[in-house]
């Protein structure tokens, strides 16, 4: 039941005192006439309503969540506790710099450590999410090329295995997208790349390990080809959790990197945000960064504006509390813990893949990085059971499904990313469920077509939802 349906006139919470100064209201011409319909509920009812909603929501803490490309690792509790400190929470963003030295120290440390992990020289913490970081990175490219008079560079190379945000971000930055096909091994087809790499190329967007979970070993050649035609290389940090402390995007030849603090650096996803998508770059590009950078002047920290900044990507300095959590995480893991997180993420993925590959077809039968992709095309042909059906079957077994139907280059794809924060027992249990569902696909396909049955609702009519959009509750008056 919706809040509005539970609402009863006259109920409410006593939050504010009476006004202690003479009341001033807007003149008639500016006074609100439309009625307001905020719910009228007492606090006990309200509190229970949200507890009920929480019960119908599944987070990492409710069980295994191997959602590929999303890095659903455990979100440490201490991070939340630190971000809730009054000394971070109750700070106005426009306070005098002398009164926010702590916040600036957080920014300076986060920039320094994240640059070290990525092999970049400077980093802006302003972008609020991965996609926001992508746009920021592309605008850096655009500013760079504009400053060089390279107005003929109008195209961005994006592999066909890329996340949809890559081409969408390129379009928002005013670029035309050139799709580069992947080879049979799931990596960039070097010959095709060479053909596409001309004088009109502004840059390349790539993630490595790529979206099929493989490390592209030709990466230096790839970045060289792009540099040779005067382009810049952009690293989508979606998959950094595989290689932290092992290899750095900067050493692969990338010029710009975005990170997803809500993936790699353990900050919670919050049901779809807030995240943070800091963007790092090489020295030459730092002059174009948005927002401000923190500089040290003796013991004092102060803000500086990059000389040819692209401007602001949003208000203020980014999703600051998310940065606080990520910094807490980096300090906790430290120089040894960071690479261990990555190696265990890779270990867990390979461990699961190895126990499934006799039954499920792996899209690429090679050592994977932090995730692997299965193709259920054969299973579907044999039994009629699709990737969607297996995913829904997992729901009835208290496992969040892998990412479905991505990357687009793999038919009936399921992309599995266990992360390092899962125990061997959890992986073993999940393997057993996957195997059992495979057996069920042959034995009882009809049952799987109807899964899930143990969830608060069964499969929902998405087509109807889009055809007849019902996007809000309608009040009677």
């Amino acid at each position: 039941m919706l809040l509005f349906e539970k609402s009863r006139e006259g109920r409410g919470c006593a939050i504010l005192p009476e006004c202690d100064v003479p009341v001033v209201l807007p003149q008639e011409k500016d006074a609100r006439k439309q009625p307001l319909h905020m719910p009228a509920l007492s606090e006990p009812e309200l509190s229970r309503h949200y507890t009920e909603l929480a019960h119908k929501t599944r987070g990492v803490n409710d069980g295994f969540y191997p959602l590929g490309s999303c890095t659903m690792k455990y979100n440490p509790r201490v991070n939340e506790q630190i971000a809730a400190l009054e000394g971070f929470n109750q700070i106005h963003p426009l306070q005098p710099q002398g009164t926010v030295q702590g916040c600036m120290e957080v920014m300076a440390l986060a920039e320094k450590y994240l640059c070290e992990i990525t092999g970049m020289d400077h980093m802006t913490l302003q972008p609020a999410a991965g996609a926001h970081g992508e746009l920021t990175g592309l605008l850096l490219m655009k500013a760079y090329h504009t400053s060089k008079g390279n107005t003929h560079k109008t195209k961005i190379l994006v592999p066909d295995s890329a996340h949809g945000t890559n081409p969408a971000s390129a379009a928002m930055a005013g670029y035309t997208v050139v799709s580069i096909p992947s080879g049979d091994d799931g990596c960039v087809d070097i010959e095709k790349l060479k053909e596409a790499a001309g004088d009109d190329i502004a840059g390349l967007m790539l993630t490595n390990p790529n979206t099929v979970g493989l490390f592209d070993k030709n990466i230096r050649e790839i970045t060289q080809i792009v540099h040779d035609c005067g382009g810049l290389c952009y690293y989508d940090g979606a998959n950094l959790n595989a290689v932290m402390g092992i290899v750095r995007p900067g050493d692969m030849g990338f010029d710009i990197v975005h990170l997803n603090l809500h993936k790699t650096f353990s900050t919670p996803h919050g049901g779809g945000g807030p995240g943070a998508g800091p963007v790092g770059c090489k020295e030459e590009l730092a002059q174009f960064l948005p927002s401000v950078l923190v500089e040290k002047d003796g013991d004092d920290l102060h803000f500086t504006k990059p000389e040819h900044s692209i401007g602001e990507m949003k208000s203020f300095y980014g999703n600051f509390l998310v940065v606080v959590k990520a910094l807490t995480y980096i300090l906790t893991l430290g120089r040894e813990g960071i690479p261990q997180a990555s190696s265990n993420a890779v270990l867990n993925a390979n461990y699961m893949m190895n126990q499934l590959k006799d039954l499920y077809t792996m899209a690429y039968d090679d050592i994977c990085m932090h995730e692997f992709v299965m193709s259920l095309a054969d299973l579907k042909k044999d039994t009629g059971i699709s990737a969607m059906d297996i995913a829904k079957g997992l729901l009835d077994n208290n496992i969040h499904p892998p990412t479905m139907y991505f990357p687009l280059i793999v038919e009936e794809a399921l992309m599995v990313e266990p992360t390092e924060t899962e125990s061997r027992e959890t992986l073993d249990e999940a393997v057993a469920v996957f195997r059992q569902l495979h057996a069920q696909a042959a034995a009882d396909p009809e049952g799987l077509h109807h899964a899930p049955t143990k969830t608060p609702v069964t499969r929902l009519d998405e087509v109807g939802a889009a055809r007849h959009p019902h996007l809000r509750y309608h009040f009677e008056d």
Binding site: L16, C19, V21, L25, P26, R32, Q34, H37, M38, S47, A54, K56, T57, G59, V60, Q81, G87, F88, I91, H92, L94, Q95, P96, G102, C103, E105, Y113, E116, I117, A128, A129, E134, L139, G164, P167, A168, D251, H262, H269, G270, G271, G272, G273, P274, E312, S315, Y317, L331, G334, R335, Y351, I367, L395, H400, P401, P456, T458, R459, L460, D461
Partner: protein, 436 residues
């Protein structure tokens, strides 16, 4: 060293051996050796929870928490009901991903549907998305929504939040919409200039109401001018003000956007906040970002799903209306809980107190050597001009642990009052600045 890896070193080795490997290095064979980091990362050693907690608390202690705040300018100090943080601390909600799997995300999806309803009701609009990054970014997304093949110009008032203006400029550098700034006259958008610069190539006009200086714009008249040329009218609004002020819909706007932070989110040195976006039904399919819709399940039971996804990047790739995927879901939840806890009465009270207190302070400052610059009505922000040096005024307040208004120049200050500022606080402030 802190770690969140359950498997012990012994277990890790067993797992490796079960696959025929002898060490972790075997798993990274695809990475060329000469590319790998030789000496590890130059980071401090890992630490225990207690040590990290001490360090971070030490850093937080270097910030000054003011006992009273009279600064707004884009971030507002409002009371946050206790129930808000209590709901947000729930681990299922906090640690969930975007609700792609609707069957196990009904709670989250319903909370977004409720949020969308509240935003529509607040603004008077028909459809809302599930939020974007913040108010400034919402302004930029709103402008991008309006362009079409024939209309590639956007006009924006100079009297908007500077960060919103800057963000819009940056986005327009990317999407190559021609942006033109409408100057301000006496603290409000210059209507004559607007009239002269409207034509059929203008896709939209963006104004903020109340504007950066707290002034109420002649919002209805602006709407009429904009619509005469067939352009879209976007209003950036303060959500608290909608407790007493006309809705963007009543003023004739096509799209309403704004900063959601005043609705239950802490100032938090600038983020995370959220941008709300709502529009008329005919523009619904142009809204960027996630949108939740009501539907039914296979058994006919009411349920909620992410919908109208044909607009989005994962389907349309470079043809998508925006690249945005994650919204600020947890912040949207905070807004929902905040508005539910406040109710109509609470919201009207907050809005009334904001406006009343700002007028009280303005009156008191007038008797203390300051003149109020605002010519017409203002909401909870206003500008004073004085012969007193702004830096000295603010420094005198800072000494008493009061964060004064935002400096506009050496003699002008932008003040803000909310329900948090008591009469005693305001009287104290006036006594202090009088002495400067």
């Amino acid at each position: 060293m802190g770690s969140y890896i359950p498997n012990t070193g012994k277990e890790q080795l067993e797992m490796l051996k079960s696959m025929g490997y002898s060490s972790m290095d075997d798993l990274f064979a695809a990475i060329p050796d000469d590319m790998k980091l030789k000496d590890g990362l130059a980071l401090p050693e890992g630490k225990s929870e207690l040590e990290v907690s001490r360090i971070m608390k030490g850093i937080a202690a270097k910030n000054r928490v003011f006992s009273s705040i009279f600064r707004g300018a884009g971030a507002y100090n409002h009371y946050i009901p206790a129930v808000v943080s209590s709901v947000l601390s729930n681990e299922s909600v906090q640690t969930a991903y975007t609700p792609y799997q609707a069957e196990i995300s009904q709670g989250l999806l319903q909370s977004i549907f409720e949020y969308q309803t509240m935003i529509c009701d607040l603004t008077g609009m028909d459809a809302s998305n599930a939020s974007v990054y913040d108010g400034a970014e919402a302004a930029a997304e709103g402008i991008a929504m309006c362009r079409d093949k024939k209309r590639n110009r956007a006009l924006i008032s100079a009297a908007v939040l500077p960060a919103a203006l800057e963000t819009v400029k940056t986005y327009c550098f990317g999407n190559e919409i021609e942006l033109e700034i409408i100057p301000e006259k006496n603290g409000v958008t210059d209507l004559d200039y607007l009239k002269e610069h409207m034509d059929k190539s203008v896709a939209c006009v963006y104004i903020q109401h109340p504007n950066y200086y707290g002034n109420l714009e002649d919002a209805e008249a602006i709407g009429e001018i904009v619509h005469e040329s067939g352009a879209k009218y976007i209003m950036g609004v303060n959500p608290i003000s909608l407790g007493v002020l006309k809705t963007p819909a009543e003023y004739g706007a096509d799209i309403a956007v704004g900063e959601g932070q005043p609705l239950g989110l802490p100032m938090a040195f600038g983020g995370p906040y959220l941008g709300f976006m709502a529009c008329r039904e005919k523009m619904m399919r142009k809204l960027p970002g996630r949108i939740v819709g009501q539907t039914v399940d296979a058994d006919g039971k009411t349920g909620y799903v992410l919908t109208l996804q044909a607009r989005e990047q994962h389907i349309r790739r470079e043809k998508a209306s925006s690249n945005i995927c994650s919204n600020q879901a947890l912040c949207a939840l905070a807004v929902g809980v905040y508005l539910a806890a406040m109710g109509n009465e609470g919201l009207e009270k907050a809005a009334t107190q904001c406006m009343s207190k700002a007028h009280y302070l303005a009156d008191q400052l007038t008797g203390a050597g300051f003149a109020v610059e605002n010519k017409g009505d203002f909401f909870h922000e206003f500008v004073t001009v004085s012969s007193k040096d702004t830096d000295k005024v603010l420094a005198a307040l800072e000494k008493e642990n009061i964060l004064g208004g935002q400096k506009l120049d050496d003699h002008r200050i932008l003040w803000c009052c909310t329900e948090m500022n008591t009469k005693e606080d305001m009287d104290l402030l006036v006594r202090i600045v009088k002495e400067v």
